[in-house]
């Protein structure tokens, strides 16, 4: 299986964490908070588009809200394949990082 790219991985993790509220704005907030720099909305859409093409992410529509100019909201969900891909990349990363010395987390392990 081809590995996910970093933005794809982060966006998918954010979707997984947000569960039923995973639409672009909270995803953006989540990813910005974790990475420490501002992601633009369009840089969130790019990996999401790519993921939907690979069928790792699907979406459902919610009812329109006045706050959004009367527009629907598209909430994303991981597909079973998407979950598999996340598990796969986690396995890969953990095996890559295992046994690495001299690269301690900032402030040390807590």
């Amino acid at each position: 299986m081809k590995l996910l790219t970093r933005p794809e991985e982060y966006v998918m993790l954010a979707i997984w964490k947000l569960q039923n509220d995973a639409y672009s704005i909270p995803i953006r907030e989540q990813v910005s908070k974790s990475t420490g720099y501002e992601w633009s909305l369009s840089s969130v859409f790019t990996p999401i588009n790519r993921l939907s093409k690979k069928w790792l992410v699907t979406s459902i529509l919610t009812k329109p809200k006045a706050q959004r100019g009367g527009r629907h909201k598209r909430v994303y969900q991981l597909t079973p394949e998407g979950r598999q891909a996340l598990i796969h990349i986690r396995t890969v990363e953990e095996s890559m990082w295992s046994g690495v010395k001299g690269l301690a987390l900032i402030g040390g392990l807590k």
Partner: protein
């Protein structure tokens, strides 16, 4: 500042042009991207002011353009592929109706192309002559006699002296060119062929814009010169320069004359209604088939131009 007053209508709106670009770029039926942008815009407007939010909105839309264009192309191609597949399957499933349709449509397109080309050729025929609007052919109508009893027949011929007489008698006719063709034998060195020779008055090249590759149109007045077409130049002289070469021409009455190539025409433009292979002056007819040029029984084609 409240963005959503009591009646539910927002007090501020994102920039119109950017919003329009966004709705065009993101071909999503429910316009969810626009909704996301508007929600974020509203949050930002509350936090940092409307102007800042508007600039943010413009920047975001601008940044979205390349990616969304690719996205549009991707889905467009994907749908095209799918339509193509469905089309091919439909053809395969309905072989007889499909073949009838394909054959019928091809025949229709083919015949309309053929018709168009035919009409185009017909309508642009002889259009390359510069004063094509001022060239007239004298014709005459006769009873058809035995072939079609009671019908009239049209001919493009007129008596030989008619052209000069018209120019002399009618001031509004300022030039007349007589033109006649005849079959002859042409020999150059060791090759000989049956050819068609044309006789024309000196005004021929003023009336018709047949370009000359070499030589001068005035050689038409020289009784020992002949103007040949580029096709004939290749046929008789190959790659050599034919200018000044000699051609032995045997006319229908048995006269043989040695004529010098005085000019070579360029390849005739496509759509030339008539053209010549060998062209000599009209006076040459005196040596060949006419005793004098005042014979009203002798026929020729006469073109004339008006002032």
């Amino acid at each position: 500042m409240s963005l959503h007053s009591e009646d539910g209508r927002p007090d501020c709106r994102p920039p119109i042009i950017s919003a329009w670009i966004l709705s065009w770029l993101v071909s999503d039926h429910f316009n969810t991207h626009a909704g996301d942008f508007e929600e974020f815009f509203n949050e930002l407007a509350e936090e940092k002011g409307v102007q800042k939010a508007r600039w943010w909105y413009r920047g975001q839309v601008l940044r979205l353009i390349p990616d969304q264009l690719l996205e549009k192309a991707y889905w467009g191609l994907l749908m095209f592929k799918s339509y193509l597949l469905v089309g091919i399957r439909n053809l395969a499933n309905n072989k007889v109706p499909a073949s009838i349709n394909i054959v019928g449509l091809s025949a229709a397109i083919g015949s309309s192309i053929a018709l168009f080309l035919f009409l185009y050729a017909l309508n642009t025929r002889d259009n390359f002559h510069e004063n094509v609007d001022n060239v007239f052919l004298i014709g005459h109508t006769t009873d058809a006699m035995e072939t079609l009893p009671g019908m009239k027949q049209k001919w493009g011929t007129s008596p030989v002296p008619m052209g000069p007489t018209l120019v002399a008698d009618y001031p509004q006719i300022n030039k007349a060119v007589r033109y006649t063709e005849q079959g002859v034998m042409v020999r150059a060195k060791r090759i000989a062929f049956r050819e068609r020779i044309s006789f024309a008055d000196p005004g021929f090249f003023e009336m018709f814009s047949f370009p000359l590759a070499s030589g001068d149109p005035s050689v038409l007045e020289n009784p020992s010169a002949v103007i040949i077409s580029s096709r004939m130049a290749t046929k008789y002289f190959g790659d050599e320069d034919p200018l000044g070469s000699e051609l032995m021409i045997r006319f229908r009455n048995g006269n043989e004359e040695m004529l010098e190539v005085g000019a070579v025409a360029e390849v005739f433009p496509i759509g030339a209604g008539f053209s010549f292979d060998f062209l000599v002056g009209y006076e040459k007819r005196l040596d060949v088939d006419l005793d004098n040029l005042d014979d009203w029984n002798a026929l020729t084609a006469t073109f004339f131009g008006l002032q």
